[in-house]
Each structure stands twice: as C-alpha cells, then as structure tokens.
C-alpha cells in the first residue's frame, strides 16, 4: 500500500510537466475570460472559472495517487506567475485552495474512483472551495443574495463541465495517443478490459 502511495520518478515528472503545460493554457484562458467579460460582464468569471481547475482533475485521473491534484494545481500557478500572470504571487494560494477542493473529493473515494461523476464532483469541489476563497478575498458579503446564489450555481456548473467533463475528454484523448502507457490510468483500463 505504501509503495502504491508514493510517487515514482516518472509520475513526479508527469505531474510537473502537466503543471507547466496547463499553466501556459491557463494564461491563454485568461485572454478568453477577458474577451468574454468585455462582452458579457462580470459574472463571466464564474462561468469560465472551471477551466482553471482542470489540471488537478487531469493529473489526478492519470496518476491516481494522493496529493496529485493539489500539487499539480499549485505548480501550474507557480509557472503561471513565472510566465507573467498579472495576478501575482497570490495565485499560489488560489491554486492551493482550488487543488485542495478537488483533492478532498478524490480523498473521499480513497483515491480509488476516477469515473466521470467523480471527476465532475471534483470540479464542483474546487468550485466550492474557490467560491469560499473569493468570498473572503473580495468581500462577497456585500453582494445581493440572489446574485450570490446565481454566481455560486454558475461556478459549480462551470467546475463540473469545464473542469470535470472537459478534463475527462482530455484524459480520454490523451489515452488514445498512447502517451499514458504504463501510468495508473492505463493499468486500470487494461485490467478492466482483460
């Protein structure tokens, strides 16, 4: 069991490179967000937020070990800062909070179940954590309860779909490329088919 829990070198490196690549994508997504916000106003943030949870879901679904979700999200945040994200160092904290939300859901399955509903739940977990975090950071108490509820629901949906569902598709597409051979996801899929 302990052997299963600790990361191999390959797994550590995979988490690291996933963090790095998604950091680049996150920076790109900020652009999408800004453009969308210009068109649709402030709630867009909640709608697009889910994509920023995706690395924890993808990495966890591939490696299937404790700590992967949170580590990958924090690493992505770190690389994002190095790439010049204007949010700055606080991003590390945001990353940790979002990653913790997903990690908690995976922990609830004892890091065993990575089916689509669990991935979507992990996205919702990140959404809830990040909502609490932004509440504290931006003093959401001042907003109208109706708006708040709408924001919360939108963010959870975004987490479930842009995080969980899209993450699932990304993982499936990656699996088809054969790059995941020998990683936990591949082993489990193989033992499921034979």
């Amino acid at each position: 069991m302990t052997e299963r829990r600790s990361w191999t070198l390959r797994e550590t490196l995979v988490v690291a490179v996933l963090g790095a690549v998604f950091a680049v994508l996150y920076i790109g997504w900020v652009q999408v967000w800004l453009i969308a916000q210009a068109a649709f106003g402030a709630v867009t943030m909640d709608v697009v937020m889910g994509f920023w949870f995706i690395v924890s879901i993808v990495a966890a679904a591939i490696i299937r070990k404790p700590g992967v979700a949170i580590a990958s999200e924090v690493l992505a945040a770190g690389v994002e800062i190095l790439l010049g994200s204007p949010a700055g160092l606080i991003l590390l904290l945001s990353g940790a909070v979002q990653g913790a939300g997903a990690e908690l859901v995976f922990a609830a399955t004892r890091w065993r179940n990575y089916s689509l509903p669990v991935l979507m739940a992990a996205g919702v977990g990140s959404a809830i954590f990040s909502f609490v975090y932004t509440w504290i950071r931006f003093d959401y108490g001042a907003l109208q309860p109706g708006l708040l509820a709408a924001m919360f629901v939108l963010r959870c949906l975004s987490g479930a779909f842009l995080g969980g569902l899209l993450g699932h598709y990304v993982v499936e597409a990656l699996h088809k490329t054969g790059a995941l051979a020998g990683l936990a996801i591949d082993r489990e899929k193989r033992s499921a088919t034979t």
Partner: protein, 253 residues
Amino acid sequence: MASASGGVLKTLNPLVKLGVCLVWLIAAMLVFNPGFQAATIMAIVLVLIFVNRNSPATILALIVPFALFGFGMLTTNLLFRRDSPFATVLAGEALFASAAFSAGVTLFLRSIACGMISALFALTTDPGAFVRALMAYCRLPPRLGYALFAAMQLVPDLAAEAEQMRLARAMKSGRPRRAVPGPREAVSLVIPLLAYAIRRAGRTAIAMEARGLSPGPRTIANVPRFTWRDGAIVVIAIGVTALCGVPLLFGRA
C-alpha cells in the same frame, strides 16, 4: 570565461536573482502607479539589451504576449468600471482624465512589468543551475528538484515542438503554414502537445533512472556560489527599484 559568452547576469547566483526578482515582483504588485510600472519595464529592457546583450527583436517578441494580455486588462477596465459609464468613455474627451483609464493603464503596464521581471529571471538563469542551487542551499530533494527542472525546461521547448508539429501538418496538407497559428489550429495542437509533454517526462525519467538518480546521498557539481557580485547586484537592484519609484513622487504632487 563564462561571462564572456553569457554576460555578467548569467554568472550571478540564481537564488540571489530569484530573491531580487521576487521582491521586485511584489513591489510591482503593490505599487499601483503607472510611472513605477513604466520605469520598471524600461529598466529591464535596458538591462536585457545592454547587460545581457539580447537583441531588441527578442525583447519585442517577449513583450507582445504580455502586452496583449495587458491590453485585455485595459479594455475591460475601460468598459466595465462602474464609476465610468460607457458613454463617457466613448466620448473620448474625458478619457485621459478618467480614473478607469489610469487604473486600466496601470494594469496594462503592470502585466507587462511582471512579465518582464519573470523574463529577466528566465533569460539569465539556467534551470539546471537554479535547481542545483536549490538542492545545495535549500535542501530540495533531488527528485523534486529534477521534476521542477523538467517543467522549467519544457516551457521554452513547447514552442519549438509546436513549430515542428505545424511543419509536419503543413507538409501533409500541402500548403505552407501560416506565420501565426489561428485559434482552431492552436486548439488542435493542445492534445498533441500534452501527449508530447507526457512522453517527454517518461523519457526523461528513464534517462535519469538509467544514470542512477536515486533518493540517496549525492554531490552537486558546479554549485553556484555566492560572490561579491551577488552583494553588488542586491545593492544595485535596491537602487534601481528606488529609481523606478521616483515617478511616485511626481504622482503624489
């Protein structure tokens, strides 16, 4: 010897550089003033061109993505600050006086400034030396250190790999590729690039394991040392940051 090929900045201790850059980054976050940000950008561009001998074209190429990013900030701020209705903004007259504009400009400049500070670190630091300094002075475990190293190496190589993929595709489609990928092409590169990154991680893991990367004791070759230059650079950096702060005085007045 090394300074001849790489400029004095490359011989500095990476940890000192990291410290200086972090402090500068935090300052750029906290000081919400367009003058400070503009001065920061200027200072870095000058350092890169005259001390590190980067070509102005490289620097321009670096600024463009940060500027695009910052431009997004600028426009959203212009259009969506509650206290500056759309109409007045479009009227143009009051534009330069409006608080939204200056907030937007500051954000715009800030994202370029933060980007340039990171670029300064990245352009003058070898990831290997950085990781070795972290392992030597901060007791970073070697496996984590080399994972970080792999991630840092990967980001600049992604561009070359994407270029290679576009070339192969262009060849198959029989058309010369466009200079800049369109959004559809960019999205279609995501999965192949991720697959490449994961494969590369696997290969690097094999390369490191086959050559004996173990959790056990190790020596570290070419550990970056602290020299008088590092002290000097801290002093200079404080000076430069202070100089960048000069516009603040005028801002207040």
